[in-house]
C-alpha cells in the first residue's frame, strides 16, 4: 500500500527557506519561506501572475531559485533533483494529455514512464478511474473538461507520489466537476499524500487544510481558511441598488468606508473601525437622501476568503 512507503520520511514534506526567483527585473517569487507538514492539503490562492506557477516549477526542480533553498521530502531541489523527480507527481496548468491517445493508452503510458503498471497502484486511483472506465477507449481529445482533469489527475497519481503538485487543476472546468475534483483530493489525504494545489478560485480554497494567499510573489497570509476569515476584523456590508455603477462611486465617496468593490450581485464595503455602531443606517440615509438611490438594500455579511484576499492584498 502506498502509505507504508512514506513512514521514514521527514515530518515536513516541504521546507522553503528564503526562496526568490527573478526573471530579469521581474521578481516572480519574492523571499518566500514556509513549511508544509506531511499529509496536508495545502492551497495556494492568488490571481494570475502572482507567481504560483513559478513556485511550482521551483519546488518540482524544473527551475533553479535565484536565492534560497527548498526541500521536498528532505531533498534539495537543485542538488537532488534526480531523486525528487522520482517521487513527486506534477500536473502543470497547461497539461493537456495526449489528445490522440485513448484514456487507457494515456494512463498506461504514464504508468510505464514511471516504471509501474496501472494494476500496481490501482487502489490509489480507483475512485477516480472508475468514473473514466466506461470511456477507456475514447480519445483524450474527445473528453469533456472535467473528465480530462480526472484523467490528468490519474496520470499524476499513477506512480503513488509522496508529494503531489497540482497547478490550477480546475481552471476551465464546470462547477459540479470542480466540486467532484475537490472531493477526490480530500479523499486522497487518506493515503497520506501531501498535496500542494494552486487555484484562482477563492471558493475552492476553503476545502484546504491550510491556505496561502499569494500576491506579487509573496504570501500575504498563511493559515487555515477558518482562521483567515476569523482574522477579518472589519465590518462588511453587502449593498445593492438599481444603479449599481453609480452606487459604487457614491459609496467610495463616503468617508467612513474603507474600501468598496463589486462582489457578484452586490457591492461589498468595509467600514473604518472608528465609526460608531449604526453605520448601516447612516449609509442607508446618505445614499437615499443625498444620492437618491432607489431599491437600496444593505445587509451586514460574513466575509469570505475572497474578501480576506482583497483586504490583505491592498
Amino acid at each position: 500500500m502506498a502509505e507504508s512507503n512514506f513512514n521514514n520520511l521527514p515530518h515536513d514534506a516541504i521546507v522553503v527557506e528564503g526562496v526568490s526567483k527573478q526573471f530579469g527585473n521581474i521578481t516572480a517569487v519574492d523571499n518566500l519561506s514556509f513549511t508544509v507538514p506531511r499529509g496536508e492539503l495545502f492551497g495556494i490562492i492568488g490571481p494570475d501572475g502572482a507567481g504560483k506557477t513559478t513556485l511550482f516549477r521551483l519546488l518540482t526542480s524544473l527551475m533553479h531559485p535565484t536565492e534560497g533553498n527548498a526541500y521536498v521530502d528532505g531533498l534539495h531541489t537543485v542538488r537532488d533533483y534526480k531523486l525528487i523527480r522520482q517521487r513527486v507527481g506534477y500536473m502543470p496548468g497547461k497539461f493537456s494529455l495526449y489528445q490522440d491517445m485513448s484514456v487507457r493508452e494515456n494512463l498506461e503510458f504514464f504508468a510505464s514512464v514511471f516504471g509501474t503498471t496501472i494494476e500496481e497502484n490501482y487502489e490509489l486511483i480507483k475512485d477516480i478511474y472508475c468514473r473514466l472506465e466506461p470511456f477507456a477507449d475514447r480519445k483524450a481529445g474527445k473528453l469533456s473538461g472535467g473528465m480530462k482533469q480526472k484523467l490528468a489527475l490519474c496520470c499524476a497519481l499513477i506512480h503513488a507520489p509522496s508529494v503531489l503538485f497540482l497547478d490550477e487543476p480546475t481552471t476551465g472546468v464546470d462547477p459540479s466537476s470542480r466540486r467532484e475534483f475537490w472531493d477526490m483530493l480530500t479523499r486522497l489525504r487518506e493515503h497520506n499524500i501531501t498535496i500542494i494545489v494552486s487555484t484562482a478560485y477563492m471558493d475552492e480554497a476553503s476545502r484546504c487544510d491550510r491556505v496561502a494567499m499569494m500576491n506579487n510573489g509573496r504570501f500575504i497570509s498563511t493559515d487555515t481558511p477558518f482562521n483567515i476569515i476569523r482574522k477579518f476584523d472589519k465590518t462588511l456590508l453587502a449593498i445593492r441598488a438599481d444603479n449599481m455603477f453609480q452606487l459604487l462611486n457614491d459609496i467610495r465617496r463616503l468617508d467612513f468606508v474603507d474600501s468598496c468593490y463589486t462582489f457578484g450581485e452586490y457591492h461589498h464595503a468595509t467600514i473604518n473601525q472608528q465609526t460608531d455602531e449604526n453605520t448601516k443606517e447612516k449609509m442607508e440615509q446618505i445614499l437615499t437622501s443625498q444620492y437618491h438611490h432607489t431599491n437600496l438594500h444593505i445587509n451586514e455579511c460574513t466575509p469570505t476568503l475572497e474578501d480576506c484576499f482583497i483586504l490583505y492584498s491592498r
Binding site: L62, Y90, F95, S96, M101, F114
Partner: protein, 368 residues
Amino acid sequence: MKEFNAFIKKEFYHIFRDTRTLMILILLPIILIMLFSFAISVEIRNVNIGILAPTNDNSINQLAHKIETSEYFNITHWLNSPNEINDLMRANEVDLVLAFGDHFDQRMLSADGAQLGIVIDGSNPNNASMEMMYLMGLLQSYFSEKASVLPSSAGSLTTNVRMLYNPQSRSAYNFAPGIMGLILILICALMTSVSIVREKEMGTMEVLLISPVKPIHIILAKMIPYLIISCFVLGIILTLSFTVLGIPMLGTLHWIILVSLVYILLALSIGLFVSNMVDSQLVATLICAVVFMMPILLLSGMLFPIESMPRFFQVVSNIIPARWYISAIKKLMIQGVEFQFVLKEFTILCGMTLLLITASLKKFKEFI
C-alpha cells in the same frame, strides 16, 4: 527498458493516427520524383526559330530542313529584313534568328567565306546557352557534311562532344539525388523538431521531465520512429529511381544506403537542435523551412549548378549538408564511382553529424 519501449510505442501512435501527415510523408517523395522527372524539365524543346535570308539559296533550304527535322527546333518565321528581329523577339514569337548573308551559296565556297549571324533571346541565359549549343551542333554537322564532298577539306577541324553518364541530358538524373536530399531533411528535421516542440507546447514535456525517464531516452524515442520512416521512404525513392526513372544505380547499393543513413542521422540531429532552440511548433516549422529547406533548393546544386554561383554563395553552400549528400549520391548513383571517391563528402557529413548531435545533447534542457 520498459519505459523506453512505452515511449516508442507512444510515438508510433502519434505518427500512425495522424494519417494525413503520414500520407504526405510517403506520397510527397513519389509525387516530387514524378513531377521533376516528367513534368518539370530544364531540357529545351520547341525552340522557335526565325530565318532571315535575303536570297533564296539552295543550301539555306537544306539547312532549314535539317533544323526543322530536329526535335528541338521549329522554324516559325521567314524574315525579310533585320528590322523585324526585334519586334518578333519582344512578342516572344521567336527565340532565335538565323541571319544569312547575301548570296550564301556562292560565298560559302569562296575564299572570303559566307556570313551567318545568330541572334538569341538572352533573357533566360541558361536556355540561351543551351539553344546555342544545340544549334551549333546542328550547323557544324551540316557544314562538315557539305565540306566533306569537296576535295580541299582535308584539314578541317571537327569537334566531337559526348555527354558522359547522362547521354540524353535527362534532368531526372539531376533531380533524383536532390529530391532525396530534400525529403530526408523534411521528414527527419521538420517532423522530429515539431514533435518534440509539440510536447513543450502541450505541457507534457514538463511532466516527462519530472519522471525517472532519462532525457536521452526521450530524445532517442523521438528519433527512432522517424529514422524507420526515413529508411522506408529512402527505399521508395531508390526503387522509383531505378524502375521508373531508369537511373542506372551503377554504384554499389550498400554504399548509397550507408551515405544516406549518415545523412538521415544528420537531419535528425538538425531537428533535435532546432527543437532545443524554440518553443512553438510554428517557429520550428519556419526555421526548418527557411533555414534548412530553402538553401537546399537554391544552394545545394539541385537546381542551379554550384560552379556558376557567385563566389560568396559557393562558400555558403559548403555548410549546407545537402550539398555534400547530393554530390556523393550523384557520384555513386549516376557515375558509379568507387566509395573512395566520395570519401571527402562522407567525412564531411559524418563530421557535421557528430558536431550537431554533441551540440544538441549539450543544449538539451532538463530544466525550464
